[in-house]
Structure formats: C-alpha cells, structure tokens
C-alpha cells in the first residue's frame, strides 16, 4: 500500500518543482502530462519504453548474440542506469520483461561466477549486484516482472525483488533457484525474499533441491500474483496494471496475507516456535539424502535460520551480507568449483556435434570420413527393438516415451508376455514415483506392439537389437534381420562387451551398423555410449547421436573396445575390489570406505545390484581383452553356482530381505575361500580407497590414451552418469588433477610395487607430468 501511494506523492511534488512552460495549462497537468516525451528506444541490451499519458514504463531485456537472457555484470550495470533514469520520471508502474521467446532470464553468468575469485575486489562485485537488485525492490513505483519462460537463479531473484510477478501458464515456464545444485547459493536475495514471500517450507524445497515450479504452482504458492496464458498477456497486463493502480489489496497475494497484516504477533509467535524444529528436521533429511560432501544446502539453511522471516529492510540487508559471505565461502571450496565445471561441461556436451571416431586399429584420419552410403538423410519414424528382456523393454519404453511407435520382436509369445510385464513395471514405477498420469501410460503403451515373427522393416526404422549377450545369437539375429531390411536401414546393437567388429562382419552392409550402449535401468539412466563399427557411415552415426540427444540422453561417442568406456573402467574397479576382498575378507569395510569417498554405494552392493550373472559375463568378455587386470572369474562362478545372483535372487555378497540388505551373506567367505576364510587382514580405509580409485584412474587414463573417448571431460561425465562417481569430486581425471599428476604418478609406481603390473603408470600420465600439465586447463 505504502509503495503504491508513493509514486503519486512524488509525481505531484515533482510537478510543483518543475517550472511549467505554460502556466495557463497547469490545471490539465494532472491529467495529461505533456512535459515528458514518450520514450521508446533501445540502448545496449535493453529496450526502454515510457508512456507519459499512462505513466507506465517498461524495461525489456534482449541480450545481444544470445538465445537466452543472462544476468551478466554488464546487464546489471545497464539495468541500474536505466532504473536511475526512469526514477526521474513521474512513473507510476514499471514493467520488467524479456524479449526472448520462452525465456525470462536464465540466471547469472556461470563463467563470470567462476572468475569472481580471481578478482581482488570480489566482495564488492557481489555487493554491487545485490545493490542493483535491491534498487528494484526500492524503486519508487511498483514493479511488475512479466515472466513468460524460464526464470532461473538470478533471473528469479530479480523477479522476487519486483513488487508483482505475472507468470504465463505455458508448460515451458519454469521458476527455480537451482544454484544449490551447482554448489553455490542464491546470492541476490533469493534466500531472503523467497521464504518471506512463500513461507519457509515451500521456499526450502525450492532452494535446497532446486525444484522448479510452473506457472500455476507459482500462483498457488503465492510466488506469482497472476497466472495467464502467454497469448493473453498483452491484453491482461493493462487490466492488471489498472488493478495495481486502483486497489493493490484486491490482488490475491495481499488478500492471503490478511492474517499477517492484522495479527502480526500470531505469525511472529508461530514462526518463533516452529522455526527451529523445521530447520533441525531439514538438516537431518539433507544429511540423509545427499551426505556430508555438499556444503551449499547447509550454508543456505544457516543463513535462513539467522534472518527468517526477512520482512524488514534491516533484516534483508543483514541477510544479503550473509549471502555474500556464504557465496564466497562456497565458491572457494573445491566441491563447488568441480560442480560448476561439470555443469559447464554438460552444457558443452549438449551442444557438441557427434563425431564418429576412427576405429582403434585405423591410423589414417581421413579415410574413415569417406561416405559409404548413398543416402545422406536418415529420418527415423519408428523403431524395432529385438528382444523384450530388461534392456529391450527399457529401450522400448524410451522410444514410446518420446513419441515413436515401437515394435518389440521376441522369439515366443511367452517371452513377449514377460517383456510386456517389464514394460508395465516401468510405467507402474513412473506412475508412483514421478507422477506420470495414467493417460500417458495408455498413450505410450498403445504406441508399442509385439510380434514373434519377422516382418519387413521399412526404411525409416531404427532397429535396435537387445537380445541376450551371446555372440553367436547376436550374429544370427543380425543375419536374419538384414534379410528384412533395405541396405540403409539403421541397425544398432545394444552391447558393450561383445566385439562390434565381429558383429559387423555378420552383416552384408555394415555401413549402417553401430552400437548404442544403454545402461540399466534405461528409464533412470540417461547415459548412452555410441560406438561405430569398422565401416559405419559418419553421417548416419551423427544422425543417431542427434536422435538420442533429442530423447534427452547424455550421449558419449566412444571408440569400440571391449566394455567401451564405462564398463571397461567400472570393471577394472570392481575386479580390484574382488582382489582386495580376497586379501581382507571384509566386505563391510570396503563398501563403507567407498561410500565415504562419495560413491552412491560400495562395489559389492553395486555388483549385487547389477547381478552376479551379468558381472560374470562382462568380466569374462573383458578378461580376454585385458589380461593385465585381476581376474575374478573363478569367484563369480562359485557364487553363480550357488545361485547367489545378487539382489534379484535375494542373496549375493549380502543377504537380502524384501530388497534390503540384511548384512553380509554369512556363508560367503567360506564358499569363496574355503579353509583360508579365516585368514583376514585389515586395511585402513584410505588404503582401500586409494587402491580402488587408482585402479579406476589407471583404466581411465589408458582409455584416454587410446582415444576411446575424445576429451577428459567427456570421460568424467560418462563416469558421473554411468557409475555414480561423486559429482563433488568432479570426475576421476579431475581427481588426478586435484592430486596433481606428479603425485598420482608416484602413487601408481608405489602401487605397482605392492600389487602388480596393472598399476604401471600409463604413458599419457608420464607425458602430462613431464610437460608439467594438467588434464583440465580451466
């Protein structure tokens, strides 16, 4: 109320001060002011509009040479200048808009944030930004943020500083404060203004988890004052402005705050009583869900606990100072810089073109780019998945989920039935866990069909073979399949452990053949490894890559080798774990150590989850190719014979009751090691971690050296999404960088002396050390 009345008083006082050129007209001045001219100009990244008859001003952000608006320091500076200029006018209402389609402001500039620490005046830089946002909050007239698209991070904080927010109801409109997921915190008053606006509980959910809300949710939370379809904004906006001018209390936000206005003491008391328990509970939950390695959420909680509810100017000021300090503290931590780098690289991966790598044994770099197919355009209109097992059903789900008709070919109707059940189970899970509506399930299932007989495959089909991992079986399937396809139908195999070269040889036209390696379960694992066969057409390879990216997959192009990238590295790690087990006979310590390191679960829990039969199979395939690695095949076989297949069988390394581990399988050590089961040794946690992580690092370096993966950051991202390598560590190669390559080199040498040649320092590391370089140069 206060604020809406201020502009009237200021304008009238301003009029008195201004000497009017024609005194005779002074009576009309209150109605139509002719003193100020209409403003409609574009300066830098902003368009400034001002209408002297209505006294409405508007700032429209349109960042040059960018698809989305970003709050760079330059943009903030310009904003401030324009605000100051507009403040000199008798403005009644100021609108803040974006000229970008489907986007309001996508947040602060991540690159700038990373550079902040390098500047000696970093505190000042942040304070400046905060001041500019604060100036919006203290602008002399009411401000309205018109949000039709993403308002993320700093963008939402800017909107929060406005008096009102109008939000479009379109599905692309998302409001979120995702800073915490990057290891930082909302530094432009988000931790202060959001809880004050929508209450502690809702605000914590948004800030601590980075949860995004859509238009109607924002309205329900009180974050938005109005929600309307995007197309109606142009004519609903004047009505809204009119409402603000005439009676701001008729707006919903104010109505819902009647309690706070009339009985502030009740609210204050309730807050005082509830604040501490809520914070304590949240802190506990946080520790449970993300562990101790991520400092940002706790920092946010601490700041909020000191200032909530930040309703007075002094409190906000105090809160902003806390934000500033917290922000810089977080920025100095290694985990934050790793998270920021990962974010940067995953954006890079999204935009990176998929390029087929040259086959491993082919040295010349040009010959593989020669086009082999006559077709240069590969439309994909439907898909055929061969095999309806766990992987087949998962892949079929993915295709149908992304609007593609999918056909599943099975050997018998019994097998098809079980595939259908698996598909239903996925939908069931999604209905329960991510709130997938029943309608979507029906639609996706009706896009899926089953068959037991081979039928001709038309050209616009992507065929993905996902039958059990058996070379002969796969070869036969491919041979039969080719008879039903034309020679440029895309045929993909879902494998990583079998030889792509051998599979390709079973086809007459292998230019259209490649490997797409999905991870299990497909509906939760976004990673996909894409490997070319010896003759794969480069354009076709790129098409499949783009296609999978559109299906929201994280696509890592790799060179074909047994295990590809992720399984190759993962099994080096798991095999080493099996070897340590042989020495210590102590599963719990090994698993606990790795969990402390930050892995989502220890290696033996992981093996149990993958399934010991699967592990045994992959280990067998890989052991042939990588003879230098420890070979745990015998142990796997022993366990498989007892039918201890892991979690799915109820017994593996652990014993399970209703899917939960109930301690180590009591007969395990005896079964594995017989008499020597009692000869235990104790390793410290650090030793176990060092040995396992260095085993992982070793294979990663070799993969990089061989060019299995194109860049270090792609390798790190693949491990992050494929094995759950802790994000706060930034990846395995980042880990070596943090350790320094020289030290890692020494570690390898020492490990080699102790545990064998498979720790011999890789050449690429030696090279990096000798050139005094790092794997990352950011």
């Amino acid at each position: 109320m206060k604020r809406s009345s201020t502009p009237n008083t200021t304008t009238s006082s301003r009029m008195k001060q201004q000497p009017s050129s024609t005194p005779s007209r002074s009576k009309n001045l209150s109605k139509g002011r002719k003193i100020n001219k209409t403003i409609n100009e574009t300066i830098g990244d902003f368009k400034i509009e001002y209408n002297p008859t209505t006294n409405i001003g508007a700032l429209t952000l349109d960042l040059k040479n960018s698809k989305v608006n970003i709050l760079t320091s330059k943009v903030l500076y310009q904003l401030d200048q324009h605000l100051k200029k507009l403040a000199t006018l008798p403005i009644k209402i100021l609108l803040i808009k974006s000229a970008k389609p489907k986007s309001f402001i996508a947040g602060a500039d991540i690159n700038e944030i990373k550079q902040i620490l390098k500047s000696p005046t970093h505190t000042k830089i942040i304070a400046q930004g905060q001041n500019i946002i604060d100036n919006i909050a203290h602008f002399k007239a009411p401000t309205v943020a018109v949000i039709d698209g993403h308002a993320l991070g700093g963008g939402l904080e800017l909107a929060l500083a406005c008096t009102y927010r109008i939000v479009s109801s379109e599905s692309y409109t998302k409001l979120a404060l995702p800073e915490v997921t990057l290891g930082i915190l909302p530094g432009f008053g988000g931790t202060q203004r959001l809880p004050a606006l929508i209450g502690l509980n809702a605000a914590l959910k948004m800030i601590l988890k980075g949860t995004a809300v859509n238009g109607s949710k924002a309205y329900r939370l009180g974050l938005a004052d109005k929600v309307i379809p995007s197309a109606y904004i142009s004519f609903e906006l004047p009505k809204f402005i009119d409402q603000v001018n005439r009676n701001p209390h008729s707006l919903r936000k104010d109505r819902s705050r009647r309690l706070r206005r009339h009985f502030p003491w009740i609210v204050a008391l309730a807050t005082k009583l509830a604040l501490k328990p809520i914070l304590r509970f949240t802190r506990k939950q946080l520790l449970k869900s993300i562990g101790p390695h991520y400092p940002a959420p706790n920092k946010v909680l601490k700041i909020i606990s000191q200032t909530y509810p930040a309703v007075t100017t002094e409190k906000i000021k105090h809160g902003l100072a806390l934000e500033r300090i917290g922000f810089l503290e977080l920025l100095k931590t290694a985990s934050t810089s790793h998270l920021l780098a990962l974010f940067h690289h995953s954006t890079m991966l999204k935009n990176k073109a998929i390029v087929k790598a040259a086959p491993l044994n082919q040295k010349s770099s040009t010959s593989h780019l020669k086009r082999t197919l006559k077709k240069s355009h590969f439309p994909i209109e439907q898909s055929l998945v061969i095999g309806g097992g766990t992987m087949g059903a998962g892949i079929a789900w993915l295709m149908s989920h992304h609007n593609l008709p999918v056909r599943i070919k099975e050997v018998s109707w019994e097998a098809a039935s079980s595939g259908y059940q698996k598909l239903l189970a996925i939908h069931n899970q999604r209905e329960r866990k991510v709130g997938q509506p029943q309608q979507v399930t029906t639609a996706e299932l009706s896009r899926t069909s089953f068959t037991t007989s081979w039928t001709p495959v038309h050209n616009e089909t992507l065929v993905i073979e996902a039958v059990p991992e058996n070379l002969e079986l796969k070869k036969n399937i491919l041979k039969t399949l080719e008879r039903y396809c034309s020679q440029d139908t895309i045929i993909a195999t879902n494998t990583s452990s079998l030889s792509i070269d051998q599979l390709a040889r079973s086809l007459k036209h292998s230019e259209r053949f490649l490997a797409i390696h999905f991870f299990n379960p497909v509906h939760r694992m976004k990673l996909v490894e894409l490997a070319p066969g010896p003759k794969t057409d480069p354009e076709l390879f790129a098409t499949v890559g783009r296609f999978l990216k559109k299906q929201n997959r994280i696509v890592i192009p790799v060179k074909a080798c047994p295990g590809f990238l992720v399984n190759r590295i993962l099994f080096a790690y798991l095999n080493e774990a099996m070897k340590i087990l042989e020495e210590t006979k102590d599963i719990e310590t090994i698993d606990a150590s790795l969990k402390d390191f930050g892995m989502p679960m220890g290696p033996f829990r992981l093996i149990d989850q993958i399934g010991l039969d699967v592990c045994a199979h992959v280990a067998q395939c890989l052991s042939k190719a990588y003879r230098h690695l420890p070979n745990p095949l015998k142990a796997y076989k022993k366990l498989n014979q007892r039918n201890w297949l892991g979690q799915k069988a109820g017994t593996g390394f652990y014993a399970y009751a209703s899917g939960q581990p109930m301690g180590v399988n009591p007969e395990l050590y005896h079964e594995l090691y017989g008499e020597s089961a009692l000869m235990k040794r104790t390793f410290t946690s650090e030793k176990i971690i060092e040995r396992l992580i260095m085993a992982m690092a070793h294979e990663s370096l070799i993969a990089l050296e061989l060019g299995i993966v194109q860049t270090p950051w792609e390798l790190d991202l693949a491990l992050l999404y494929g094995t759950g390598f802790p994000a706060f560590r930034g990846g395995i190669l980042r880990y070596i960088d943090t350790l320094t390559p020289a030290k890692a080199f020494k570690k390898f040498e020492r490990l080699k002396d102790f545990y064998g040649d498979h720790f011999t320092p890789p050449a690429i590391l030696k090279d990096t050390v000798s050139r005094n370089q790092l794997f990352y140069n950011d």
């Binding site: 209109e381 439907q382 008709p405 039935s417 009706s446 896009r447 039928t455 038309h458």
Partner: protein, 430 residues
C-alpha cells in the same frame, strides 16, 4: 468396379465373448491393436496412408468418431483423416468398400479399413421413467415443495436398466428382435430345431479343427488383457471342443419360449474384437512390389423387409451375380455369416428354390445350390462369435487366407444386416 483393389496385411484380434477375456478392452484399444499390426506387417510408411476407415456399430460414447481416435492412438500421422462407418452388421465390409470407393475416385491412394466392436463395453442405460424423473428433478424453477413432490414419485422399477445391447439388436421398424426374425425364417422355410442344432455343432467342429490346424494363426494377432494378470490371448474364446447335440438340445428356445426353435446355442453370441486390412489399387501394390493377400473385385448391397433381414445374403448375392455375370458355382469358397443357424439354412434353401427366385428376385431360375464343402469351411459366427462391426472384415481376411491356403481363386463373402439388408463381396486370391 473399374479396377481391382488389392487387399494387404489383414489381422484381427482373437474374438472374446461378452463379459469374457477381452471385456476390459475398449473399442479404441482393440482397433489400435489391429491397425498398428496390419501397418507393421505390410511395412508401409505411416505417412503414406491417406485415410483410416473403421466400421463400428455401437459407437463408444467416450470416443466419438472412433476411427480418428484409433488413428491417433496407433501412432499414425496427425494429418491422417479418419471416419467411422455404420451399416450395422456389414460395417466391417462397408469400411472396406468405402475405402475402395475413395481409392477409385482418386481421393486416396492407400487406406486402412477395418471393423471394431467392443460389445462388452456397451453401457446399461437408465430407462425412460428414470430419465424423465431426472429431468423433472433437475428443473431449476421448482420450489423445495415441488421438488419434494417429484421425489415422492420415485418408484423402484425406475431402477431397471435398459440393456444397450438388447436395444441395439431389436429392430425399431418391425419391432422384432434379431432372434425373432430368425424364428420368422425358420417357420417360412420349415427348418427344424434339430437341423439348426446340427448346423451349430458343425460350426463348432469346423472352428476347432481349423484352430488346431493353425489356420487362424496367420490372421490372429494375440493381445494382452487389461486385467491384473495381463494374460496373453491367442485364440478365439467361442469354439467349444466339447460341444454336443445333447447339450445343444438341452437349451430352451430363447426368443420364443414356447414355440420357438432358436436357442443361444444355434445363434451367434455377443462378442468383442477388431480386424483391419490395408487397401490400394492393384497397380499401386505391384508398383510397390508388395505381397497382396488378395483383391476385391466387386461388391453389392441390397435391402429387403426388416423382419426377413436374415435373407440379406441371397438378395445381395443375386445382385452381385447379375453385375459380374458369374454363377454361384464359379465360387471356390463361400462365407455366409452365421448370425443364426436358421438364417443360414434359410439362405441355403432359398438359393436352390426356383419359387423363391420367381417370387422375390424376379428371375425364373434358382440361383444355384451351395456346395456345403465350400461353405464356411472354418466354422462361423455361431462358434467364433459375431462382434457386429468387425465380422465383415474378418470374413474378408479369412476367406482370402483360406483361398490362398487352398490355392483357389474366387471367394464370396456375404452377410445379413439387421434392419433388412444384405452385403456380398467378390474376392479373388492373388
């Protein structure tokens, strides 16, 4: 017809009994299932299809123009137009002939046509009294007192539902139920109860034999039920291997309790199912080098008084023979849809009757006798069931498959249509 229309693909669901295995599936789901499959089997690009035409009698309330809903659910192009046809029991044939007309008129190149019926899903309705009661009650101008007065008028008999299926199977013009029209024919042609029961038994035996020999395997595409078990249904629910004359004889006449001969045993049942085929010009199929199931060469529809609707096949066939200048004996296989045993037997008798031809068809000669070894070789609707909108398409698919298997050329598929019509299709094997 100027040119033959090629029929490709051709799949159907198993036929389920009303309230049986497929009763949870809606017409849309059944239709989606066959449309998807027939398209996949013919390997035609979905963007090449120009129109989807489905026959459906009891059009579901929740899916007006069920054809379009099926098109969208089956993942066909968003820009694919679709319409639904209704010629009662001949809807599944009407879809095919409508598609043929669209193609020959140059309005479409490739069409998918078929029939779908989910009779288990036909709703029960409030009767007229209850509907009137609701109307009165919802009148907004009533005072509380008047409203109470209306409420007092309620009688328990209002709750007796009108059964949609029964309503649908009763002719609104002559007032006879379909079964009663069969009784009319039984009397006209002096067909005894035991003759009918023998015919019904043969239908079951032939159906069981065909099923065991795997003759249906090419046309049936198995479907999963929608209940908790998600059982796979691979075969028709209707045919009974243990059907016998004694058990048929034990049944009481259903439509005329005292003097009738038509029982539920010698009539077709109420069923769920769907079938679909792909259609294009013969030239187009040759140009695309697609394997054809067969061709539609000619067809005709004819009408007759509603209470004798069961004789539709002879009227329609008479017209077809006149147009094509063929004789009945030229056909290698004949399918007459078995709505009722009495009705098929009446047709067989009428075909051989000179008197019938003179009285009703304006010709001096009988149309010719039907060789029973050519008639309904794999049983018919009495054993398999008669999902009304789907049967027409099923007959076409089945006769073509059967011609191909026997390496024969000409087939006649004909059926009687409630309301007093008949349809006859001349099909040729490739």
């Amino acid at each position: 017809m100027k040119e033959r229309i090629a029929i490709l693909g051709g799949v159907r669901t198993p036929i389920g009994k009303a309230g049986g295995v497929l009763s949870d599936l809606t017409a849309v789901e059944l239709g989606t299932h066959v449309v998807k499959e027939t398209l996949a089997r013919t390997a035609i690009k979905k963007s090449d299809v120009d129109e989807l035409i489905m026959g459906n009698v009891a059009q579901p309330v929740e899916a007006a123009n069920v054809s379009r809903v099926i098109a969208l659910r089956a993942g066909l192009d968003d820009h694919l137009p679709a319409f639904t046809v209704q010629r009662n029991c001949a809807s599944g044939m009407q879809a095919i002939t409508s598609a043929a007309e669209r193609i020959l008129a140059g309005g479409a190149t490739i069409c998918i046509a078929g029939g779908v019926e989910a009779m288990s899903q036909i709703p029960l309705l409030y009767n007229e009294d209850m509907t009137a009661f609701f109307y009165q009650l919802s009148n907004k101008r009533l005072s509380s007192w008047q409203r109470l007065n209306v409420l007092m008028k309620f009688r328990p008999r209002y709750l007796k539902p009108t059964i949609g299926v029964v309503k649908g199977l009763t002719d609104p013009v002559c007032g006879l139920n379909m079964g009663q029209t069969a009784e009319v024919l039984a009397r006209e042609f002096k067909i005894s109860r035991s003759e009918q029961d023998h015919f019904a038994l043969a239908s079951h035996r032939k159906a069981i034999a065909a099923e065991r020999a795997g003759h249906f395997a090419t046309e049936i595409h198995p479907i999963f039920t929608k209940d908790k078990q998600n059982t796979l249904i691979k075969k028709d629910e209707g045919p009974r291997s243990n059907q016998s004359l004694t058990s048929l004889a034990a049944l009481k006449p259903y439509f005329d309790r005292r003097t009738g001969t038509v029982t539920v045993g010698n009539a077709c049942s109420i069923n769920d199912g769907a079938a679909a085929v792909v259609l294009m010009r013969e030239k187009e199929a040759k140009r695309r080098k697609l394997p054809c199931l067969g061709y539609l060469t000619a067809y005709s529809y004819a009408a007759l008084p509603a209470h004798r609707m069961g004789l539709g096949p002879i009227y329609a066939t008479h017209r077809l023979l006149k147009e094509t200048k063929l004789l009945l004996k030229n056909f290698d296989l004949i399918e007459i849809n078995e709505a009722f045993a009495a009705q098929v037997l009446a047709n067989i008798k009428a075909f051989t009757s000179k008197k019938f031809s003179e009285t009703y068809l304006n010709t001096s000669k009988a149309l010719g006798s039907i060789d029973e070894s050519k008639l309904n070789v794999s049983g018919g609707a009495i054993a398999l069931g008669h999902p009304v909108g789907m049967s027409g398409t099923r007959l076409v698919i089945h006769i073509l498959n059967e011609l191909q298997r026997r390496k024969k050329r000409r087939g006649l598929a004909t059926l009687c249509v409630g309301g007093g019509q008949g349809a006859a299709l001349y099909l040729e094997s490739s």
